[in-house]
């Protein structure tokens, strides 16, 4: 079945020089099926209008497309459509939470927001394997409120070191923010255990679901997290769209960050009142075409089935790991048992940039660099790595082409 899906993705027929393309960079951004591309065309050619503001027929159709996107996403990750707030990307979603807490700490949002207020006696806990998007905003929040920033370390196997969990996440902890799946190591983190500890100390849980939602069945209500974030572009959807998901009671209480049109009830020159979620976080004209396209993407994912996607990618991940183990001079970063089909590695004597360049010359697209996780790379004693990440359109043939090319890298650079 999965090899048939490949035909739905027109870009996979592109040739790189003389080679066919093996796209193993879906961890950065995914490719789009034709139906998602078609939705753009259809939207702009037939339904484009500003939403929520007009009596005319196009505006009604555009509004429908926009609100149906929320229904689709709630179907994907659980909860009700009102729990789905649109953002420009996952980064904005995480910032909205961190900056909303900052504003609450400074007295914005009235009584209702006081539950979020942080001060120097409080702590925020993250992990050493976070993407910068789930790290820098918390640094900023700590700097602004005086709260202490702590983190859970990472073991050699690329898993969270929970041996000190009880002392790191303690009674002072107000926020525990962590990634569901590492974008570098592919490790799946034990959400239940972390949520349980957060509940025990009364901390809010913020889940970075960028690398989980596209690759496995995820239900935020079952995981019982308070806030979660992910991006459409990593899940067959368009660029320019992310999702902030939250418990309604919390979303309605969190002070908004970006303010302006369409998120207010009344505006006077002196001051304004804000709408409840999701509109509260959706100031200005929204990425409407993108939402329509993402609804199509979510439908496509649902049709394939995320459990099948997960199983397929695990298999590919196995092929990659087994194959790499046969090639001398390559060190894989981390070896967690619970993982998605993403593998990052260091090639002895050849810099990641050069590895990526060689693979590209063979039509194999991978990512090189720190993958927006500098602290994690430092943890493994490198500044950069090469990462191969799979998705539903990848095949065993992609893995084979990758492994063949990878085996040639050290000889090419004269280090083997």
């Amino acid at each position: 079945m999965f090899s048939r899906l490949r035909g739905d993705f027109p870009i996979l027929d592109v040739r790189v020089g003389e080679s066919p393309l093996s796209y193993l960079d879906s961890g950065a951004t995914s490719q789009k099926p034709q139906c998602v591309i078609d939705t753009f065309v259809e939207y702009y050619a037939q339904r484009n209008a500003a939403v929520h503001r007009g009596a005319h027929s196009l505006a009604v159709e555009a509004t429908d497309a926009f609100e149906n996107g929320r229904i689709a996403v709630a179907g994907l990750v659980g909860g009700t459509p009102e729990q789905v707030c649109w953002t420009k990307n996952a980064t904005e979603a995480l910032n909205i939470v961190a900056m909303g807490i900052d504003r609450a700490s400074r007295g914005f949002g009235g009584e209702a927001a006081q539950r979020f207020a942080l001060g120097p006696e409080d702590s925020i806990v993250i992990t050493e394997m976070e993407h910068h998007a789930n790290l820098v905003p918390w640094q900023q929040l700590a700097a602004s409120t005086g709260a202490q920033l702590r983190w859970l370390p990472v073991t050699d196997s690329g898993e969270l070191d929970l041996s000190e969990l009880e002392s790191i996440v303690d009674e002072t902890t107000k926020v525990l923010a962590f990634t569901h799946v590492s974008n570098v190591l592919g490790t799946i983190n034990p959400v239940e255990m972390l949520v349980a500890r957060a509940r025990a100390v009364g901390a809010y849980v913020v889940l970075d679901a960028c690398q989980s939602v596209p690759h496995m069945p995820v239900d935020f209500t079952v995981l019982d997290v308070d806030f979660a974030a992910f991006s459409a572009h990593k899940a067959l959807g368009p660029t320019g769209l992310g999702v902030l998901w939250g418990k309604s009671e919390l979303l309605d209480a969190l002070p908004p960050v970006l303010t302006g049109g369409s998120m207010i009830t009344t505006v006077a020159m002196e001051d304004s009142e804000f709408m409840p979620a999701p509109q509260r976080f959706e100031a200005g004209t929204q990425p409407v075409a993108e939402v329509a396209a993402f609804a199509t993407a979510v439908g496509y994912l649902a049709e394939v089935g995320l459990q099948d996607v997960f199983d397929h990618e695990r298999e590919l991940g196995r092929l990659l790991l087994d194959g790499i183990a046969e090639i001398p001079g390559i060190r894989v970063l981390g070896d967690a048992a619970e993982r998605i089909g993403t593998v990052a590695f260091d090639v002895d004597g050849v810099h990641a940039h050069d590895v990526g360049q060689y693979l590209d010359s063979q039509g194999v697209a991978v990512r090189v660099g720190h993958h927006c996780a500098q602290p994690l790379h430092r943890r493994f004693g490198v500044t950069a790595s090469t990462r191969a990440s799979t998705y539903l359109y990848n095949t065993a043939e992609d893995c084979r082409r990758f492994l063949t090319a990878l085996a040639e890298v050290r000889p090419f650079f004269g280090v083997a």
């Binding site: 929520h52 503001r53 007009g54 009596a55 505006a59 009604v60 509004t63 429908d64 369409s262 207010i264 009830t265 009344t266 709408m275 509109q279």
Partner: protein
């Protein structure tokens, strides 16, 4: 003229939007019975309504409102006021729930005139998603104000 427009703007609606039954000064704290007051805004178009409910001793409800909005929202408040003049609290809640369901039917439901009375004239509105909020504005205020009035009565009972 399209028939959709005729369905939307029934003569009843046009008439009621001018009649504005119940559109009178609010009594606020001068109301003698248990009362509640709700202010509802439709943020997209700026329509607003302030609606006051008073629970009378004979089990009936007095409705007073002031507002500014389109013909659909004004007619809806007017019809609501007329219905309230002849109905018990329970009957009004039944109407409210039937009206709510009708509005969200997207034109797929027949209105039950025996329950809805003149409010059945709003059937056509349900085909215009952007206007549903207009028709519901007064009813949202009604429910909210009624809750307040009932809560006030409860308090009284326990006091």
């Amino acid at each position: 003229m399209s028939t959709q427009m005729q369905q939307l703007y029934q003569q009843v609606i046009l008439d009621q939007s001018r009649a504005r039954t119940g559109n009178t000064a609010l009594l606020r704290d001068e109301a003698t019975g248990r009362h509640g007051c709700s202010h509802q805004v439709n943020p997209t178009c700026g329509d607003e309504i302030e609606l006051e409910i008073e629970l009378l001793d004979d089990g009936r409800i007095a409705v007073r409102w002031s507002g500014d909005g389109c013909s659909i929202s004004m007619a809806s408040a007017s019809v609501l006021s007329e219905l309230a003049a002849d109905a018990s609290v329970d009957q009004m809640l039944q109407i409210e729930s039937a009206f709510h369901e009708l509005m969200h039917s997207r034109g797929t439901m027949e209105a039950d005139e025996t329950i809805l009375g003149d409010a059945a004239a709003f059937t056509g509105v349900s085909k215009f998603p952007a206007r549903i909020k207009c028709a519901l504005l007064a009813w949202m205020a009604f429910k909210d104000a009624l809750n307040q009035a009932q809560a006030a009565r409860e308090e009284n009972h326990h006091a």
